[in-house]
Symmetry: D2
Subunit: 343 residues, 4 copies
Amino acid sequence: MNFGSDNASGVHPKVMAAMAAANDGAVSSYGRDALTRAAADRVREALDAPEAEVFLLGTGTAANALALAQLCPPWGRIFCHRTAHIETSESGAPSFMAGGAQLALIDGPDGRVSPDALRARLFDYPQVDEHDGRNAALSLTNASEWGTVYSPAVVAELAGIAHEAGMAVHIDGARFANAVAATGAAPADLTHRAGVDAMSLGGTKNGCMALEAVVFFDPARARDFDFRRMRAGHLWSKHRFLAAQAIAWLEDGLWLRLARHGNDAAAELAARVRAAGLEILQPVEANEVFVRAPREAIARLRQAGLRAADWPTVGDDEERATIRLVTSWATTDEEIEALSAQL
Amino acid sequence: MNFGSDNASGVHPKVMAAMAAANDGAVSSYGRDALTRAAADRVREALDAPEAEVFLLGTGTAANALALAQLCPPWGRIFCHRTAHIETSESGAPSFMAGGAQLALIDGPDGRVSPDALRARLFDYPQVDEHDGRNAALSLTNASEWGTVYSPAVVAELAGIAHEAGMAVHIDGARFANAVAATGAAPADLTHRAGVDAMSLGGTKNGCMALEAVVFFDPARARDFDFRRMRAGHLWSKHRFLAAQAIAWLEDGLWLRLARHGNDAAAELAARVRAAGLEILQPVEANEVFVRAPREAIARLRQAGLRAADWPTVGDDEERATIRLVTSWATTDEEIEALSAQL
Amino acid sequence: MNFGSDNASGVHPKVMAAMAAANDGAVSSYGRDALTRAAADRVREALDAPEAEVFLLGTGTAANALALAQLCPPWGRIFCHRTAHIETSESGAPSFMAGGAQLALIDGPDGRVSPDALRARLFDYPQVDEHDGRNAALSLTNASEWGTVYSPAVVAELAGIAHEAGMAVHIDGARFANAVAATGAAPADLTHRAGVDAMSLGGTKNGCMALEAVVFFDPARARDFDFRRMRAGHLWSKHRFLAAQAIAWLEDGLWLRLARHGNDAAAELAARVRAAGLEILQPVEANEVFVRAPREAIARLRQAGLRAADWPTVGDDEERATIRLVTSWATTDEEIEALSAQL
Amino acid sequence: MNFGSDNASGVHPKVMAAMAAANDGAVSSYGRDALTRAAADRVREALDAPEAEVFLLGTGTAANALALAQLCPPWGRIFCHRTAHIETSESGAPSFMAGGAQLALIDGPDGRVSPDALRARLFDYPQVDEHDGRNAALSLTNASEWGTVYSPAVVAELAGIAHEAGMAVHIDGARFANAVAATGAAPADLTHRAGVDAMSLGGTKNGCMALEAVVFFDPARARDFDFRRMRAGHLWSKHRFLAAQAIAWLEDGLWLRLARHGNDAAAELAARVRAAGLEILQPVEANEVFVRAPREAIARLRQAGLRAADWPTVGDDEERATIRLVTSWATTDEEIEALSAQL
């Protein structure tokens, strides 16, 4: 019953096999190899973005922070939801990578930036002169940290507001596959066709070992990103092992099948939780379920083997607390049944 | 009728005379001179802080950002009111100087951090592991950006919460003299005796030309600050001209007399504004008055010579806007009368 | 005939197998798992350093830059050989990670810092006041970028000079296994017993996929390093796959056997090159051979399939150029024979 | 007999008077005032550079570091003489301001970069890929730290090499007036007409209190420099007092007369030193004289009241040491006579 994190899951067998298969003979290092070129092509195809520039690296924090540093000057401001991973869980990585940039936090229900809240926040930061910093980028997490998703229409609306304000738009796609699976939208419709300028496409949580792609839809935005990645220590020398992951993960839609599995498991889990009379805090659209329950019930479940993160939330009290259940490509029916039996 | 900014005022004649008097012969550069030592002593006396380490420099942004960088690691978080100058008007200087630190914004009426709001914000940033960054410092602006002040008791309460959370406490004292004058409190009671660890003591807005002091009440906190100031380009070579300002400004309580003048002028101004039936947005405790008025009235006043900053505020509408009136040591009765006549 | 880089070699089968074996079930992420704890123990045992703090990550540049950032304040100076990887090939990563630190380059034959050259360089940077920056760290690459090694005695002598000057000592051990194999010294004698404070222990070039360990021999030096690694994006979520590499690589001395293989291959290669009458630029002690040869001979070898890096060196001229041949754990007799046949 | 530093001198009476005169009434802050506009015009006229963008600030370190940060990306490299102030005496400020840039040190006699040494250094940093960082800027100090100057022809030759290598050219002009006075060249011929892209024009050492101008000859290079200056805390609020200095200092060629006075004093001092049989280490072209003398003689002179900096130099020994004598606009005949009498 491990619902602690999608990072707790392992590597999909096909991805692991591809890594082993890539381990044959000598190959040029630092991404100057055929496998890396092929991986970039696969990413472009998956996103239907033939002009995009693609860079592979190993962690989601690096992908987000480096991508944002490319979009935001050191004196710039990155707008994001107040529960965004870049705000809560990266120990300041975007600011570090961008040389001192600031985050401007946006409210909005269910972990989603709402257009009105974005507009309100822009109002807080008029752009009169150099005291004000530069409003530079909007970062949207899709699927969000609260397991909800943005539709193409909403992304487009938010991107429109951002562009009008002179800002670039970034998708934190650590769980982008889950968003694609949940919305049924084409990846391109969720990104560049909706006005997205750059994204972090995450494989790690969804069947890879350590694989993220930073994508710039307009190649001009990628200028000198290779230097940026290098001097942050994120250029793998044995780069083929990043590439092999990407290729296997994207092949024949594996990435989306894995995401669908995770989403379906979350939906099933949510149904069981609801059936047990427990409160679920937001719509379950991707692979996360936030449950508020009596503290003693949570303790009992944990004793029975449940792994789930504490998620202190406004509204918790002495009686009841919130936990986060995350499913993944590797979640089994047995785990869901086991939890269900305990509920 | 220049109520645009206290930075628009000039230099008090005594300060200017002291600078001229200091211009005599050759003197060791970079603060290795007798005048600088005397100035540091004067600051320590004014704050009744004989152990404090004192550093002089030329701008308030530098004073704040360098002081905070000393209190906050690159992966740290600085808590401040959402209208704090370090957030709205320094183009990211604290984050830059601290190597990537983040601000966590706190709500609270009248430009003041409230204890409850601080506690709520700390709740948002649990300190579980390295993902979370480090809650490192609380910065309070006294007098605040909205012309209100913190009393010694409130500073002590907030500092207590901060210390309990493992954070250091900083005062942005760009208008600290106004806070002292307004509260009638001893400077020491508003700072180190209330638990403050470091402060930026601002002379520039209050009769100096370019003079701020960074003060660390515990000398251990000042370690290597000389390097930090140097490599940020804030070590004046002809340092005696900073020192001369400090000495003249603090002499015989000039700094507090100047602040009192500014505060009194603001009180008088507020009375006239109220008498004219216009709305004032918050208590007028220091040297700022925020007035909401019909847009056409504002336009008319400007045509009549008023200088005041636009201050777009939630609650403004098509009819009415907000402006900020700032008084200073140099505000004259004539200016107030002139404005009053127009109201 | 791929002698282009040890990064061109693949992953040793035992390491690959260990990664596959680690892919079983759900495991806590971010290094909070048993495998990671075991890996740290293995590193401590290999270095005979039971108190050391050990952090795993994926690239050598990150290991160096983050370790040095821990030893050097933003206003500090890192002394290293003028051919050190941190100077020539990391695009400024140490300075970036350390918030603006500078490198001070040291001369010395054969890619090695000599004690006299270190002393001369320290003379260049007297420590009078804050203008001077802080002389903070000495970084030695062992084995060096020129395929030479430092003995325990020389490391100790250099560390003594550094410590006397108030500096910490770091080993860039991207090829540390080669240095151990070449000197026959105990790892501890090449590091903490010789006064080394921190090291980057490199697995990637020597049979791993992406595995480096940052080691602090005095745990006090490791303070907050977890935050530093995190906010640089170098904390792997599926951390077990770093750990699995480390364990397999260190098990039963595999790391040293692999290094010995590489060193022996280089020695053999050097013998063949010398026999062919070509010039070798420095003693061949580890796994690199720098050959100066007629440009047309180099072109011919490349046409015959040789992969080797251009290595423009003072002394090259229109006739003759320098190339670098690197062997690895994976170099085969056939490759050496093939090159030999072409010579 | 204060020859310790030109920073030990005071402020020229005309500059001081101009500052007092500027202290009249309320004026817009942050450089949005008429005096600041006039000052920028005066700088443009002095440099015969009508298109140039001009920014005023208070310290030479800030001027250099911010200007270079504008020319050099965070992963870039700034080439300069190994005795350049930006290398030896700014505690890493350029690297800090540029987000981690590195310095590449160049040899050359008498404190001057020689064309051959520049070419040799560029050879050390081939530009193959992202490992190599970016060769971004050449910084020349004119007059140099050793009191020598570059002629327009030499600046042009060096700038040509730099431009060919894709680098921008910066002049550290902390003593630029002395270079103009020494060469007799037009300021424009020493800068933009010789290919210089940006400069720090220093007033502080030469009669001002705290006044430096950062000049970009091509306005496109100045993009967002206002943000850069702001977030480094170098935007003065009472900006008119920077402007007043600039205007008075440049008026009627005062800056050059003051520099000529300093240069003449140095020449006279050198003649006396030579007549006394002491060694002078390099040509005396501007306002610095480096004297090697028996240590006891130096001690005696100091006892007699000499202020001069120790300047440990290769070639010093147990018997003899090197000191630096600096003259300035304020050096008097009496001081020279007094020293002469002691020699």
